[in-house]
Symmetry: C2
């Protein structure tokens, strides 16, 4: 029983990932409106009910894509922070990387922040990748800064606001760099 059931479980996990990546590719190619359960099923070459044996519903699929996105965003931010020439420029680098991510993968960003998902953010069971993203902002402040978490929250809020307001054309995309410089100048850690 073990060998075959193990293989089945592998196949199942493989198909699980297949559904997630197919949903993401379809969304990035044609937008989330095009991601219907029928089209998704057709794309993975299974019938609709199979999707429901892997996920509780469409929202859960979107949530799985979003979770992937948080994982990628976390590494993206970490790379930017660690690649900064000096500690003082870490925040600026992370902020730029954040907006890059949001504009480069709009569909993914949409799944992470504006689409209805099954992701729970209630309390201690925050998904680790989401926490990892937040921690990248926190890490831009000195450890002895008692309010570094609060600062990180505000920075993240500002970046998210800039991302969605510029994506919907409510603020002009032209002065992106100036906004980022301003944000960095005003919200960065005060040097010791």
């Amino acid at each position: 029983m073990s060998a075959t059931s193990e293989r089945r479980e592998r196949d199942r996990a493989h198909r699980h990932r297949l559904i997630i990546t197919a949903a993401r590719e379809l969304a990035e190619a044609e937008g989330w409106d095009a991601v219907t359960t029928r089209r998704l099923a057709e794309r993975v070459e299974y019938s609709q009910p199979v999707l429901y044996s892997h996920f509780d519903g469409k929202d859960a699929i979107v949530g799985a894509v979003a979770l992937d996105g948080f994982g990628e965003l976390a590494t993206h931010l970490r790379d930017a922070r660690q690649g900064a020439a000096e500690p003082g420029s870490a925040l600026r680098a992370v902020c730029g990387a954040y907006l890059d991510f949001a504009t480069a993968r709009p569909a993914l960003y949409q799944a992470m922040f504006t689409l209805p998902t099954d992701l729970k953010f209630a309390s201690a069971d925050t998904p680790p990748p989401l926490r990892a993203c937040f921690d990248e902002f926190v890490a831009c402040y000195r450890a002895d800064n008692e309010r570094r978490e609060l600062h990180a929250e505000v920075v993240w809020s500002a970046l998210h606001g800039m991302a969605v307001l510029s994506a919907s054309g409510r603020i002009p995309p032209s002065w992106r760099e100036e906004r980022l410089d301003f944000l960095d100048a005003r919200l960065a850690d005060t040097p010791a």
Copy 2:
């Protein structure tokens, strides 16, 4: 022909508003998912096609509700700014009023910022109420500040980010005041 047709036009305008307020009330009571064209038609006691004689589609109805929201937000922000004891506390008052509005009317705020609408924000034809909201932030900075518009954009972005991130439970709602104080302290106009 004039008297009756004028009355008809009045009736029509009245019904136009009836649809908008019905959509808004339904959304605020049961969320936007519950606002379907059928339920909305039933609520205004007309049949579905009547909605389409007033609006291009559901998105346009949401857009009309959103436009109402921007008008209300503008006056709300103006009241807060003008009610500030001294010019130096205007920004703080406006920011507080903004978050109050977002948390007090979540469905309305959703229509204004996250739902798909027909509102055009492309270029010069920005809807006046939206421009009025933005101008309230600008007015919190001195007129000789050359970058007051840029500052206003960043403040608005931060507030919007705080509104949606706390509404979705990604940042804790507890430290709201501290975040606002921090935002005001760092982003306010530098005194002359």
